[in-house]
Amino acid sequence: MRFVDEYRDPTAARALVAQITELAGDEHFKFMEVCGGHTHTIYRHGIEHVLPDSVELVHGPGCPVCVIPMGRVDDAIAVAEVPGVIFTSFGDMMRVPGSNGNLLQAKAEGADVRFVYSPLDALKIALENPDRAVVFFAVGFETTAPSTALTLLQAKAKGVKNFTVFSNHVTIVPPLRAILESPDLRLNGFLGPGHVSTVVGQRPYRFVPAEYGLPLVTAGFEPLDILHAISMLLQQISEGRCEVENQYSRVVREEGNPRALAILAEVFELRPHFEWRGLGFISQSGLALRPEFAAFDAERRYEIPGVRVADPKACQCGEVLKGVIKPWECKVFGTACTPETPIGTCMVSSEGACAAYYNFGRMHREAAVTLGRRSTVRT
């Protein structure tokens, strides 16, 4: 474990925290981590508790399960219930609530819903069941979209007739812009996503410093990566710089993965607009299949209800996804909404801010509340 110890070294962490504290000084800084993987690391390792009060982290929309609106889940269930269809989905999506139940419940009620690990598994099911229509429920950012694209290229090359994709793929840059345009949030910079950036590279983020005057540092997933990236952000600010920097250069390259980007462009095109849970409609943010792949497009093959469903009133996923409130500030957090019985998407995925907070952050908060109460009693 020699490598791992280096990235979890308490001495190095303390040194970074001291540096962060000094750089932040008396000011208050708000940074958004865009990626759900980062949110998980932050809670898993209690990073919020070692940071000085002057640095606040807000959790962004980078969890693909969390941003799927209820109406799209309803659409998925409607397709799954078409007689003869085998509906395939990643496990993460099975428990995401629609307005009237989730995919697991649809399966219990007789729909042939199958959980797959990869879009290639879905294609294999199609090849093995030539008399059935197989639909793949595609979700995810640029991390998973190239896999769907390559699967579609294979399906086309093989002339498969019974395989379609219900695309809910989204891109990372438009929601960043939407957040930057949001009047209720004032940020000082971003921790850029890790795995998505292995595909898109660093260039797409240049608009953040260029148009909004904010720094962005792409970060790795180790606790020290996060602390290092925060200190890089503060360093930029203190030196009056404002750039896209790469803390995760051991994996992320400036140009990303050109091959994956080329395959994405070959198979997908941008939708005029796509609805995001909590963020509303964002233009040019969703990926649809190009007309050349129409035969593989579930949205062309099946009747999609396409009804827009408002989030449950009690659910504040939207505010959590924009970083306006902390997960535990939501009215139903940990009471009506838990990982076992999620109301909102942020509580479903292990990378959702609410689930991460519920699993790892809750104890700290309860301890803090108790300690606060005790000190009040004493004074």
Partner: protein, 95 residues
């Protein structure tokens, strides 16, 4: 789904250059390496695997880090690995 699993390349398929046998936590499975076509992958190289596809070439150090992080995730990692093992493509023979 968003978790990247580190695997070490053992063998690239002779019949299909997009398929490779990888070692993930001591078990070998087949993955698709088509997205890393330009990387000139060789046996012994480490890759980060997302949904059955090698998404990025990484070094041994990064692989160890990724693995340790995943193990800390507990249930989420167990679920991801279980899904990976159960994957139909993963159990295919490479040649």
């Amino acid at each position: 789904m968003c978790l990247g699993i580190p695997g070490q390349l053992r063998q690239i398929s002779e019949s299909n250059e997009h398929l490779a046998r990888v070692d993930v936590s001591g078990v070998t499975r087949i993955i698709n390496i088509g997205l890393l076509e330009d990387e000139d992958l060789k046996p012994g190289d480490w890759v980060l695997i997302h949904v059955g596809f090698a998404m990025s070439k990484i070094d041994e150090e990064e692989a160890a880090l990724a693995l340790a992080s995943l193990q800390l995730m507990g249930q989420a990692y167990d679920d991801e690995l279980e899904a990976f093992w159960s994957s139909a493509i993963a159990s295919e023979r490479s040649t």
